[in-house]
Symmetry: C2
Subunit: 256 residues, 2 copies
């Protein structure tokens, strides 16, 4: 037994029911989350796997109510950014590694597509680990992709250096609502064997469409008659955050 | 109580010790993982949050020993791709949403940078949830970023359509080793308050460098004298998978 601690697999517990019970929470009580719990959640998050030990993640906790209000607005009026006990911006960060390179006397040949993939993946893995940590304590969470509505303003608000990209926000707090679970596409569509065989995908999507029709209908007392494929058509039939390309280039992610 | 199931927060358990005990496992016993457990792990993974319910993730399980051997080789000789009880390729998938658009009579204006960010993030969140599910059962895991060494060959092997990108592989199996935990950067560097204040980052990196020097020394019986900033310099001082840009363009991710 080394000094670094061992025995991960003594920690065995069945987390699957917890994971399968995830819902986004958008209404929180006033109860605070202690700084100690926040640190525990974030360090559990950052214990996730990271590509070549890059650790391309920086978490910025925002407490200032004015900054929170500005972020809620730019995210499209998501007021729970203001009301959640804790709010974080998860950043894909290559800047710190560039500093480390320099400290070791090296030079960072930045900007490659692969670097972007590594940093965003690192950041997402760590965030999801933190989410599981939080939910395991009974907390509720909501990811805020809407911060990418105006990444330039986010960059200014948080004083992000080049090579740091605000990937998403995260609200954490004590749930004050109990929304239903949202059904997922059937595994017959999302889990394939050996190759990308899409023979049965349209049937699977049709079945899921009917499940979502029932889900929407129940949630709205019969008012909303919509299915998943229509959601996708509405979502993807139009441009999506067309500023992202230029913002990322300005921020040093040149996709070479 | 609706028909969709509720009560997520009755699932409360302290998963933080489990999350903090993650190590990558690269040596597995011969014991199989049942198909039932695999399905449970993958569906727990896919219960993670997803941007606008896009569900931009497809998991391809590879059982064929020849395909596994080919992947182990192209990933740089990672033999545990062959020996793990189960091996998966996690794909960022916009193709399925394009099919759904078409089914709803819409058209998918594909290829934007934001679409790429959404799909890779969705995929990483789901994969990390699956990893927690697996580790909670006592299984060990190892991500295989090395599949991006030759994404074109991966695409051919798995017959991936356009708008589907193999993001990483994942080995899952019963651990036959007990490696030490790898230290992470201190929270003083990775968790910031209000803004990206890097005043203390160099001190934090220096402290971590010394921690990693001791870690490497212990793991190699004193043979390896290296620190994290040198790792970063070696990693980022050279080109990283320079084919990625063109591969992604060919695959329909045009970064508009």
């Amino acid at each position: 037994m080394g000094v670094w601690g061992r025995g991960a697999y003594d920690q065995r517990m069945d987390a699957i029911p917890l994971l399968k019970s995830h819902r986004s929470i958008r209404k929180f009580t006033d109860e605070p989350v202690s700084d100690e719990m926040v640190e525990s959640i974030i360090s559990a998050g950052l214990a996730a796997a990271t590509s070549s030990n890059l650790q391309g993640t920086t978490v910025i906790r925002v407490r200032n109510p004015e900054t929170r209000a500005a972020i809620a607005t730019l995210a499209g009026g998501q007021t729970y950014v203001e009301t959640a006990a804790a709010f974080f911006v998860w950043c894909a960060d290559l800047h710190r590694s560039a500093v480390a390179c320099e400290m070791a006397g090296g030079e960072f040949s930045a900007g490659m597509t692969e670097h972007f993939v590594i940093a965003t993946t690192d950041c997402a893995l760590a965030a999801q680990n933190a989410v599981v940590a939080a939910e395991s304590q009974g907390l509720g969470i909501c990811y805020i992709g809407g911060i990418r509505n105006d990444p330039a303003q986010m960059t200014e608000l948080l004083q992000l250096p080049e090579q740091v990209m605000p990937l998403f926000g995260l609200c954490i707090g004590w749930p004050d609502q109990d929304p239903a679970l949202k059904p997922r596409l059937p595994l017959s569509v999302t889990l394939k064997e050996e190759i990308y065989d899409e023979t049965n995908d349209r049937d699977g999507i049709r079945a899921y469409d009917e499940l979502m029709r029932a889900y929407y209908s129940e949630r709205t007392g019969g008012k909303l008659d919509r299915v998943w494929s229509e959601d996708m058509s509405a979502l993807l039939g139009k441009e999506s955050r067309p500023h992202m390309r230029e913002y990322l280039r300005d921020q040093g992610f040149t996709f070479e």
